[in-house]
Symmetry: C2
Subunit: 200 residues, 2 copies
């Protein structure tokens, strides 16, 4: 592309295009929108990003991202320290917190085992998980992993890894999503939902 404007705008567009959900065309549109809203959006966003880049750290206990270490969730004394929810990614942690599903502690693996992608146990935050469980306070480990092949492989691996420590390992229920229609569900989900039916 010929340089339409100064290199500053080109650089902004190039960096924006590397954000998820933005391609080259939408990055240009976003850049123009930002430039037009210089005072209200571009300046504040630049500052928010600078602060985030400077202050955000990975929690050494659970793998969450926050501006403090240990993170807000690990430091919160009102959370149940006897339950540990294992998730694949910080986004899963956020999803569970948005749902206000449980007031427990978390552990972020940072991925799932995937032999095809070359992700082995050494690439995940597993040593720290075993160390936390070995401390003895945790009674139950809930594996809140994706219901994919890789997620389930990881769940089995973690279960084996934790079995010597005498901790209860559970996983999320399979079933019909709330608001979901049976007609649109796959057979695996229907079979699981029937098998794990509950009394009314």
């Amino acid at each position: 592309m010929a340089a339409v404007a100064g290199p500053e705008i080109e650089r902004l567009i190039q960096l924006l295009a590397r954000m998820p959900g933005l391609g080259p065309r939408s990055a240009r549109r976003a850049a123009l929108h930002l430039i037009k809203k210089r005072e209200q959006l571009l300046g504040p966003l630049a500052e928010a990003m600078r602060v985030a880049a400077e202050r955000i750290v990975v929690c050494s206990a659970c793998g969450n991202v926050d501006t403090s270490d240990p993170c807000t969730l690990c430091a919160d004394p009102r959370r149940d320290g006897s339950i540990l929810v294992v998730v694949e990614d910080v986004s899963d942690l956020w999803a569970l917190e948005r749902a206000q599903a449980i007031k427990a502690r978390y552990h972020v693996l940072g991925g799932t085992l995937s032999p095809l992608d070359g992700v082995g146990p050494g690439d995940l935050n597993l040593d720290r998980l075993v160390a936390r469980v070995a401390e003895g306070e945790i009674r139950e480990v809930i594996l809140a992993l994706n219901a994919t092949v890789d997620g389930q492989t990881t769940a089995h691996y973690v279960t084996d890894l934790l079995s010597p420590h005498g901790v209860t390992v559970t996983r999320l229920a399979h079933g019909v999503p709330v608001g979901g229609e049976l007609d649109y569900l796959d057979e695996g989900t229907l079979v699981a939902a029937l098998r794990q039916r509950t009394a009314i």
Copy 2:
């Protein structure tokens, strides 16, 4: 949403959600992506935005955005100063420049006349357009406006506005888009393409 992490991350998500093409959910995803790529993406993007917010100005001649005033295009002596391409928005200027369609000067109106949306002549960069034409160097004004009702209304208005100045006013050709299939084109375009047929 419950505060999952510190207010710095929440603020970043909120500002990202105000970018075009990003909603609340994709803003969270983008924020997490940026946080994970702190060194490679978040820091540089923050800096690029800061520089842009600080240095980008609107060209007082044509309405383009750039880091200099007059902008790179207005200051370029190799451009044909006798042709002025009138566009609705900076994004249209960028599109024409990407296509390397013409080496002329531009004039950005900053919108189109739209009585329904309350956009009148006073809201557009029209006085400056008339002043530029009145200077006498410009021989042809090309109205590169959208082929929408508002765009065409604006084209007629600008044509009337410039008629006392003895300048040639032209507009973009209507026709079959390059690579387009006749079967998918609307009737208006087909009629226009036939009417404006050219000798091979």
